[in-house]
């Protein structure tokens, strides 16, 4: 293991490769963010409010540009409740008006009532800029790893430990 450190140039190259991989991944994420105009273009479904369409752990791809048509009733959108940082994936059930000031009401397919109670107090409807993206594609189950990691934080330590072990073993 120490043979790697004895050669500082090799260690530096490895560090630089690691940094390059990290920054490439970050740039790709930000690039997709810019193309879709959404702060978070790929989201993992966290709740069961849209069952049976989406289960916990599904991966959703968002698009936030209105190129051909406005966001309309029936689209599944992700929005943040004003003042809270919780993204909610629900379907638009009502739209009054047109353009950025149009009033939108959302509801989860699996919920009995609409989202009026989830909105900030005094807010009865959403407007277009509350929405951070509309779902256009989906892959089942792939995101479950992130849910596992956030609900069982000890898994993160285990994973990091395993990765560290792999790096150390590879040197030999």
């Amino acid at each position: 293991m120490l043979s790697g450190l004895a050669n500082p140039r090799q260690a530096a190259v490895q560090l630089m490769n690691f940094g390059l991989i990290l920054s490439t991944a970050f740039m790709m994420w930000k690039g997709i963010s810019v193309i879709t105009d959404s702060p978070s273009p790929i989201v993992v479904v966290l709740s069961g409010s849209m069952e049976p369409a989406f289960q916990r752990g599904d991966l959703l791809f968002l698009w936030n540009r209105n190129v051909l048509a406005e966001t309309s009733v029936g689209e599944i959108v992700v929005y943040n409740v004003k003042g809270k940082d919780i993204p909610i994936v629900h379907r638009i059930v009502r739209k009054f008006g047109k353009g950025p000031e149009a009033k939108l009401l959302t509801k989860g397919d699996n919920n009995v009532s609409d989202d009026t109670e989830l909105y900030a107090s005094g807010q009865d409807y959403l407007v277009r800029k509350d929405i951070i993206g509309s779902v256009f594609a989906y892959i089942p189950f792939v995101g479950y790893v992130t849910i596992l990691l956030s609900e069982h934080p000890w898994l993160k330590t285990v994973m990091l430990g395993l990765m560290g072990l792999v790096v150390v073993l590879q040197r030999e």
């Binding site: 009733v73 409807y125 779902v135």
Partner: protein, 227 residues
């Protein structure tokens, strides 16, 4: 270069690549299957405007519309091996007050339903008895031609619709429109379309005749025989 760890990494990498390519092919197969949704009738059977509290959380009284309808449609061609569910919804649509200038409309869902594909029946949120019936109805098939055939007579609304202004009585040029949203197992979510795209036909006849929301229903005086 030939440690077990590297081999494991290579296998995992290959697995992810193959899985991704297979998923892409499955998603692309959707575009090669024909879709021909048909609506035979869509009409209102009863329309009322009531002044009251439409939801349990409503703090003030407002005018809300109660629309029941009949629907006869065949959406069974939307079900393919990649279909997870079809979300069918009926909306009431009417032009906004400043429609002449801005072309703005109001649209609200009055009824919706989820039709699962037999491959996704186990995910439907229904009780054990209904689940058994649903599974049996498919008869073990992976695509059931009976799913998607909707024959509703005088279907009760699911949602009472309101307007942000609180007023709905005597609104003109209201139409009902049928929409659907196909949710695949993997791939793009698609909605009903106005134009034919390749193998997918547009939904014709999906709009009802224009109707008018009536005046507020008069409450009968509180005496015998009243509701």
């Amino acid at each position: 270069m030939y440690t077990s760890v590297v081999r494991l990494q290579n296998v995992f990498g290959f697995f992810t690549t193959v899985a991704f390519v297979v998923a892409a092919f499955i998603a692309a197969s959707d575009f090669l299957t024909e879709r021909a949704p048909i609506v035979r009738t869509l009409k209102t059977t009863s329309v009322q405007v009531v002044r009251g509290r439409p939801h349990y959380y409503s703090s003030k009284k407002e005018e809300y519309a109660v629309i029941n309808f009949s629907l006869d449609a065949d959406l069974s061609s939307l079900f393919t091996w990649n279909t997870k569910q079809v979300f069918v919804y009926v909306t009431a649509e009417w032009p906004a007050a400043d429609h002449a200038k801005t072309n703005a409309t109001n649209e609200a869902v009055i009824w919706d339903t989820i039709i699962t594909s037999p491959s996704a029946d186990h995910l439907a949120n229904i009780g054990p008895v209904a689940m058994k019936k649903l599974r049996k109805s498919a008869g073990g098939k992976s695509i059931d031609p009976n799913r998607g055939k909707l024959s509703l007579k005088n279907q009760r609304h699911k949602y009472k619709i309101t307007h942000p202004s609180g007023k709905l009585a005597m609104t003109d040029n209201v139409t009902l429109r049928l929409h659907y949203n196909v949710q695949p197992w993997v791939g793009l979510l698609t909605w009903d379309q106005d134009v034919d795209y390749g193998y997918w036909k547009a939904l014709k006849n999906g709009v009802s005749k224009r109707f008018k929301l009536p005046a507020i229903k008069e409450k009968k005086p509180a005496s015998a025989g009243a509701r």
